[in-house]
């Protein structure tokens, strides 16, 4: 079984690696979006520290949405998506592997860059650690939930704006948990509760989201 | 009770009448819009049925 999963993972990585351009675009978007906050608001160090968790999280959130645009669209256009739906493996499992691969390619670089962004906003070392950890747990949830929206809107002409509209309500709880973990650290509040909730959200979405995405894709291909 | 006093609502007239006014306006607009939509659909369907019936009739004659 794990051999088959590995084969699936490799297969998705091969495909995603063909689109290095996309990864660069998403990362560039993230960096620019984060940089715009000080430019648009103020360079006051105290204020920057206050908005840092929100700014970095919101930039990561929109980068995720941007990356989701390509999750299924090319596969739908060239017909490989329907072939994947006919593979003799459970669709939800196939999708889970795919989402993991997608996260590794598009979100992991953002998580790795987040400490640098934290430095730019004058965060302390432990705050940066919490920020990175919250993104490490939070971005997979964003990808897992976002895939539902991506699956429902793939192939539509105006999918970009629509997918944002569909996803924002789903993303609010994750955003709240992630940013408040960082700001609570700044205020010296214990963040165990934040991370328990984030962890629980990750587990629940890992379990449920592949089925939801599978259902959504079946509807889209119908 | 004096009408002006009633409308003034102890200084809260703008908020109260703003609330009820917009709500009433939206509900009337929605209601009228829905009734019009139904009537339009009904009319179009009837016209279409009549058109198709006529075309079918001609097809049989010709």
């Amino acid at each position: 079984m794990h051999k088959m999963l590995w084969a699936l993972f490799n297969r998705d990585m091969t495909l995603f690696m063909q689109r290095k351009q996309d990864v660069v675009t998403v990362l560039g978007f993230f960096l620019i979006a984060v940089a715009l906050f000080p430019l648009g608001i103020s360079s006051d160090p105290d204020l920057l520290r206050t908005i840092a968790p929100g700014a970095i999280w919101i930039a990561a959130l929109f980068s995720t949405v941007l990356a989701l645009d390509r999750l299924f669209s090319e596969d739908l256009d060239d017909g490989t998506l329907e072939q994947q739906m006919l593979m003799p493996v459970p669709i939800s499992l196939m999708l889970l592997v795919r989402l993991v691969a997608h996260w590794v390619i598009t979100s992991l670089p953002i998580v790795l860059l987040a400490p640098l962004m934290g430095l730019q906003f004058g965060l302390a070392f432990n705050e940066i650690a919490i920020l990175t950890l919250s993104l490490l747990i939070g971005t997979p949830i964003l990808v897992l939930l976002g895939a539902i929206g991506a699956a429902l809107t793939v192939g539509l002409k105006s999918s970009g704006g629509l997918v944002t509209l569909l996803l924002l309500p789903l993303y609010v709880p994750v955003l709240i948990l992630g940013t408040s973990a960082v700001s609570s650290t700044m205020n010296g509040v214990d963040v165990t509760a934040h991370f328990s909730l984030l962890g629980a959200a990750l587990i629940v979405s890992l379990v449920l989201s592949p089925f939801a995405v599978a259902t959504a894709l079946k509807i889209t291909l119908d | 009770m004096d009408i002006a006093e009633f409308l003034h609502m102890g200084g809260h007239g703008f908020y109260i009448w703003g609330s009820y006014g917009t709500a009433l306006f939206l509900m009337i607009v929605e209601g009228v819009w829905v009734f019009k939509r139904r009537n339009k659909a009904k009319k179009e369907l009837e016209r279409m049925e009549a058109d198709f019936a006529r075309v079918d009739g001609q097809g049989m004659n010709g």
């Binding site: 329907e82 006919l86 003799p88 119908d222 | -």
Partner: protein
């Protein structure tokens, strides 16, 4: 054996077909014909489980396919309108990708590509290939698959007469090996094997 009972499908408020019952047993072929919009592609997609029927049952070896999806899919090979080739990848990579989790040796893939006439250009990204070559690449899967049931949507499109002969010979061999075949085609079939015909338009004619 594939059994279809009382199948119905609708699209955009329109009933495409209903009460369709047909069965395909080992070594049998079924050619689905009908005018444009009669629902040929929809029928094939329903048989694969990609589209949901509005009524009716499909069973494979006596079991409902909706309940034994993985088993059914491992016996099934579907080829749609789209070639399902990744334009950035070369023929060899595409073929390996298309075979999914099926373990196939590199030599077998080379042989299949040679047999398909793509051996010399197998290292080229498929965006440089012509329509006919792309179609042949997706048909190369037929040489490597172990599936018993082939469902092919317009497999002859974009093929020249030589490629048609090549495809015919493989379809015939599949049938003589007790395989099953369901296909749509606008052209008259040139295969020498006996193929049943199902006319989707007939029900309402």
């Amino acid at each position: 054996m594939l059994e279809v009972e009382g199948l119905a499908a609708e699209r955009e408020e329109r009933l495409l077909f209903s009460g369709l019952s047909v069965s395909v047993s080992a070594g049998e072929g079924l050619h689905i014909i009908g005018e444009n919009g009669a629902g040929k592609t929809t029928l094939l997609r329903i048989l694969c489980g990609l589209t949901l029927q509005s009524a009716g049952k499909i069973s494979w070896c006596g079991q409902a396919v909706s309940k034994f999806r993985e088993e059914y899919c491992s016996d099934l090979l579907y080829l749609g309108h789209k070639n399902a080739n990744k334009t950035e990848l070369n023929c060899r990579e595409n073929l390996r990708l298309a075979l999914g989790v099926l373990p196939v040796s590199d030599d077998a893939i080379s042989d299949a590509l040679h047999d398909t006439g793509l051996g010399l250009i197998s290292h080229l990204p498929t965006r440089f290939l012509s329509q006919g070559q792309q179609r042949r690449l997706s048909l190369a899967r037929l040489l490597l698959t172990k599936s018993k049931l082939w469902i092919l949507d317009e497999p002859y499109v974009a093929l020249d007469y030589k490629a048609i002969e090549w495809l015919d010979s493989h379809l015939e061999r599949h049938l003589s090996n007790q395989g099953m075949l369901i296909l749509t085609s606008h052209q008259k079939l040139t295969m020498s094997s006996e193929i049943r015909v199902l006319n989707l338009g007939e029900q309402y004619a």
